[in-house]
């Protein structure tokens, strides 16, 4: 039972390839806390480096999934949070006259801004990574992610830079 639970920590594609033999190895061994920690770390590695077991050379090229996903994970929540803060702040408080002041980010330098942002970044990163790890078509998935990440990167960077400069001016 515990063996099956530990094997289930791994991505589906990994389990399809190594699951049965891995379960056999676990069954031959006493499950000490050290072994459980090792297996959890191994499962995390399999999620974080899906290419480690079938297409790592594609994924390891500069600008491919790890880098782009990390960038996306930082920018997507930043954009979402910025948008929510701008709308809420401006709705509750003052409705500025100019478009420039409307898009100024309130409270950017305050700690309360960064907490939810970091939580969002980590959650997005985890979700995207898990989804990619479970994608059966490695190369096609990589290309799709690259296009999506490049789009998010450009969009997010321009909005973030705009917000930052507006804030410092205002």
């Amino acid at each position: 039972m515990r063996t099956r639970l530990l094997v289930r920590l791994y991505p589906r594609a990994w389990r399809a390839r190594y699951g049965e033999e891995f379960a056999a190895v676990l069954a031959e061994r006493r499950l000490s806390p050290r072994t459980v920690i090792d297996v959890i770390a191994g499962a995390a590695d399999a999620h974080l480096h899906p290419g480690g077991w079938h297409h790592e050379r594609v994924a390891a090229k500069p600008g491919s999934r790890p880098v782009m996903l990390a960038t996306s994970a930082l920018l997507v929540p930043a954009f979402a949070y910025w948008l929510a803060v701008v709308i809420l702040h401006r709705t509750v408080h003052t409705w500025p006259q100019s478009a420039e002041r409307f898009f100024a980010l309130p409270g950017l330098r305050q700690a309360w801004y960064w907490g939810p942002y970091l939580a969002g970044a980590i959650a997005t990163f985890a979700l995207v990574r898990v989804r990619v790890a479970w994608e059966p078509d490695g190369l096609a998935g990589t290309i799709r992610i690259r296009v999506r990440s490049a789009y998010v990167l450009v969009l997010g960077a321009s909005i973030l830079i705009g917000a930052l400069t507006s804030d410092f001016r205002g």
Binding site: R17, E21, I37
Partner: protein, 104 residues
Amino acid sequence: MTRSLDELGRFLEPALLILVGLAEGPKHGYALMESAQSQGVRLGPGTLYAALARLEGEGWIEALESTDRRRPYRLTEQGRTHLGGELARLRRVVRTGLRALEAT
């Protein structure tokens, strides 16, 4: 494009132990853990399979047909070449280190 063994980062040592174990002949996962243990290294199953999967991905080892749930692996020619290169490098390190220790 093939990579060198030291590009495996933190999986270098487990990978080396697996390759050394397989140099003796085909072995399944548990036998590889015991082989590593005989070298004084306790290899956890998570670490073992992370390294094993990378080595298989590189084409340095290959899986054989299994009769039960335990699948044996064997060293490929490419794996043998890489292992030979890495062991030669380690021999140079050991020789240099020993010489330095004797001189001081």
